[in-house]
Amino acid sequence: MTATTATIGCSSQSKYPSGDLAIWVFILAELLVFGIFFAVYAFARMNNVELFNEFQQHLDLNAALINTWALITSSYFVVRAVAAIKEGNSQLCVRWLLAAIAMGAVFLVVKSGEYAHHFGQGINLSTNSFYMFYLSLTFFHFMHVIMGMVILAAVAIKAHQGGYSASDNTGVHTGASYWHMVDLVWLILFPLVYVMR
């Protein structure tokens, strides 16, 4: 761990979060949507506690744990990628980013397996309100994972071409912030939909 003294973003305190402020406006909008969705889930559950509790048991907790770990790990890799570019090490940054994308891919594969299982049983959005919320929330998040991977890939390509440096790396921070948001949302989604009863 040569990077123990490396800092994330700028070393001094700042008025703005790292990355392009535009992405932060977007992140807030996305968080708002997810926040509303979560609250709506909880209140819809209130009227159907038994239904929600029953069908929650049909979800695959093992898959959810793997996915949670995958996203956390991926987020951590992105932190390393940011630290690498702060030291001007583009190629190390690219490797961390690729690792992060790979963890995202793990998430997609596992989640697709879950979907295949549900769809195989003929479950869809109209099956009942639990599955409506489960599928809506997780699919909406699923698409965000894909989107986040596309963004990370774009950042990785640019980093590979030497587009970032120790002093000019806003783009990396921007992609990283978005990816952490995807992780953050899942961290709430996981207990809410899979565990809390």
């Binding site: 703005y16 392009d20 992405i23 869809n124 109209s126 698409m143 806003t170």
Partner: protein
């Protein structure tokens, strides 16, 4: 520190966001199209009265009924909702036909209230319209309207 907020990032968010939500919308549309057969009363369309319903819808359109009435809550708000008119008249086709016939044969003058144009429908056409309205009333509208008055 407005440089922190770049135009190119704002542009990328617009393109990315638009594409993303368009895809999501298409996915939901796809699911909706698959779910519709259970909801949209297409059994009626495929039944022997299907052609009559189609004719009724056509008449509904070429006489611009939507210009005064609502149908499943959409249209003009000048005259009653007709999506559930079949149920309002006791789920009785003859009652619906009689009502249409009565309204279009009111005298031209001397009725100082909202009134229906004097459409010249044949009995056959009135029957088609009634079948169309019956079909519409049997679509699964998630419990709307709140009561029979529409």
């Amino acid at each position: 520190m407005s440089e922190a907020f770049t135009k190119s990032m704002a542009r990328n968010i617009f393109y990315g966001g638009a594409f993303f939500f368009l895809l999501l919308f298409l996915a939901l549309t796809f699911d909706t199209i698959n779910a519709l057969p259970k909801l949209d009363n297409r059994a009626a369309l495929e039944s022997p009265v299907g052609p009559q319903i189609a004719k009724g819808k056509h008449l509904w359109e070429v006489n611009n009924c939507i210009g005064c009435h609502t149908l499943l809550g959409e249209g003009a708000y000048f005259a009653p909702e007709l999506g559930n008119v079949y149920k309002r008249y006791g789920s009785n086709l003859d009652a619906v036909k009689g009502r249409i016939k009565g309204l279009i044969s009111l005298p031209a003058e001397g009725i100082p209230m909202r009134r229906m144009p004097r459409f010249k429908f044949t009995d056959e056409e009135i029957a088609a319209l009634a079948e169309f309205l019956k079909y519409a009333s049997e679509i699964n509208t998630s419990g709307w309207p709140p009561n029979d008055q529409g």
